[in-house]
Symmetry: C2
Subunit: 353 residues, 2 copies
């Protein structure tokens, strides 16, 4: 299997090293061949090649079976114009690879729960999967520009019906492997695109009679994620709503540093990255939490390579490690032991069967 | 003072009755003349006049000094097409009156805090004002339609620079009466409109050197409202982000039923409504919480009529009532007494000086 690794900026390099070591151990244990080729993206690519997404990176990713991404961005590049910024690399690679579905699982890890901002009884047992449309909507619609004659500005929320069908299908399919409930989030009382979205969900739901469906307005969803996160199984929504709601959801369980994310298309190719950012303030200090990256790698094994057992093994090692009380400084475990990135990685490797 | 009252749907009528009684008591105590004229909006107007916003209602509101609104909407009208729905009445009246600024205060009431989904230490002391742009952006931009040739759909996020300046000004001015901090929320790494928004905030901030400003991406804001709500004073943002974030924020303190909202323009005319909805499930049962509506009326006295002392008196009566332990069934107070809408109103009247 050909894996492209894009460490990116900030703590990206440290956590990527950790994930690669774990994957190498898995390759050995299960007799797989993983080859890794490293490329530039984001700020690192701006510094090295004057572009947040160099052609060589795009080319390598297109040939790969899967891509692992650390994180992009940092203050250093914040003053650059829109199309020269590190984030453009991320948006660009999603679009170039056609990764239309972003899967963001949010699961309560019991040892970490007490650090949640929510009361434990509200959040315990939550297990949500947000399925976010990733290559359409306000992010990419044209026109997206200044209108000097009107001293105005415009962005465009555009979807084809096919794009909506595609992501809604993905949500229903994924719900089949879970609790068989889909909540579709839109703003149908205001947006025409949401009204089409709702129609598509209703239509598609006939093909999935085993899946229960409901609709929620985005403002109500933002409330219910906090007041009753346990009510959700799969949430499906458009790009911008998905960006906001998945980040909102990511802090509910007190374990942001643990959360993986997968951006996929229908043929199994995918890009896997942790939810947390590049954290430039702690970069190079050896204290970054590698678990979000390691769990992203495990998600890659499961979703792009169909290696269920291998993925299970990594997840089991992570859970065992937390139960043993080991955690990096961004997390909190009662009577736990704080360790750095390298030590954490060693412990995970030790906990692999 | 001419006040138009629009009870609307669901519990709208019950809570409006309560607010009018409180205003009448204030008028007597302070020797004011308030005249009330009632009109139809939302579902009630659809049933009565085949339009969610009849001309007579628009006309009356335009002549009024202020408007009080109960709530609109309900399942009964959910199947109607987009432009015939109750919400169109609300969107229409905001636009007709040019109410470009929606002010949503979120304040922790100590007796209610234990019912917050958040841990008390996280939320106690929070006091946020969300200033949401209300007449532009995705809500009103054109085109907003199906594109049959492309089997696609489009909504448009359009702002003139003047519209942005206007709302940013309002936020800075309001921050002067508070803790002098403004957090501007945008998605400048993706939206061109957000990049213009950020420029305007930077420019305007020079005219308000006494106000501290920072910028936050909307996804990060959705996280920080939960992890550290106390860090915020005034938040200013565009229409759709404001819709999502203000509803998210409204559940933090465990007192959604208490929250007022004001939609204003520069000359003092405004529309005041509680944040909670029309709650058709409890309509007519006499158990609706009138406090959000009563506090909206007090906000009208303060913001449209400049009646500070009168507004203070209502707020004081509400706080006293909660401290005495009285609350409607939607709230929870330790060792409190559950009362209905009418009884709650009597107690508030009794607690007015
Ligand atoms: C960096 C940014 C452009 C990106 C997005 O908004 O998609 C990020 O917030 C994410 O969610 O992956
Ligand atoms: C009813 C709806 C159109 C409205 C909005 O989105 O503005 C409501 O959610 C609000 O926030 O007042």
């Amino acid at each position: 299997k050909q894996i492209v690794i894009l460490p990116g900026d900030g703590i990206g390099k440290e956590i990527m090293d950790a994930a690669v070591r774990v994957l190498q151990a898995i390759a050995e244990n299960f007799n797989h061949q993983f080859t890794f080729s490293e490329h530039l993206i984001g700020g690192a690519a701006i510094d090295g090649e004057q572009s947040p997404l160099p052609e060589t990176t795009i080319h390598a990713c297109k040939k790969a079976d899967a891509v692992l991404l650390g994180a992009v961005g940092g203050e250093k590049w914040d003053a650059l114009p829109g199309d020269k910024r590190p984030e453009k690399g991320l948006l660009g690679i999603r679009k170039e690879l056609g990764l239309f579905a972003n899967l963001r699982p949010i699961k309560a890890f019991t040892p970490l729960l007490h650090a949640s901002p929510l009361k434990e009884e509200i959040v315990a047992g939550s297990n949500i999967l947000i399925v976010r449309e990733l290559t359409g909507g306000l992010y990419f619609g044209e026109p997206k520009k200044r209108i000097p004659e009107e001293n105005a500005v415009v962005d465009t929320l555009y979807y084809t019906r096919t794009e909506i069908e595609q992501i809604v299908d993905k949500a229903f399919q994924t719900a089949r492997t879970r609790k068989k409930r889909v909540t579709s989030v839109d703003k149908a009382n205001v947006l025409e695109s949401s009204r089409m979205w709702r129609e598509v969900v209703e239509e598609k739901s006939k093909q999935y009679p085993d899946i229960a469906v409901d609709h929620l307005l985005v403002d109500a969803a933002a409330m219910k994620l906090i007041t009753n996160p346990k009510q959700f199984d799969v949430i499906v929504t458009e790009n911008m709503f998905g960006d906001i709601l998945s980040d909102e959801a990511s802090v509910l369980t007190g374990s942001l540093g643990m959360l993986p994310s997968a951006s996929v298309r229908t043929d199994g190719v995918g890009l896997y990255e942790p939810v947390h950012g590049s954290a430039p303030d702690i970069a190079g200090k050896g204290i970054a939490n590698p678990l979000g990256m390691i769990l992203s790698a495990s998600s890659m094994l499961r979703q792009s390579f169909g290696m269920e057992q291998e993925a299970d093994e990594i997840e089991y090692a992570v859970e065992t490690t937390l139960e043993q009380g080991y955690h990096t400084p961004d997390l909190s475990i009662k009577n736990g032991t704080v360790v750095g990135t390298k030590q954490m990685t060693e412990i995970i490797l030790g906990n692999l069967a």
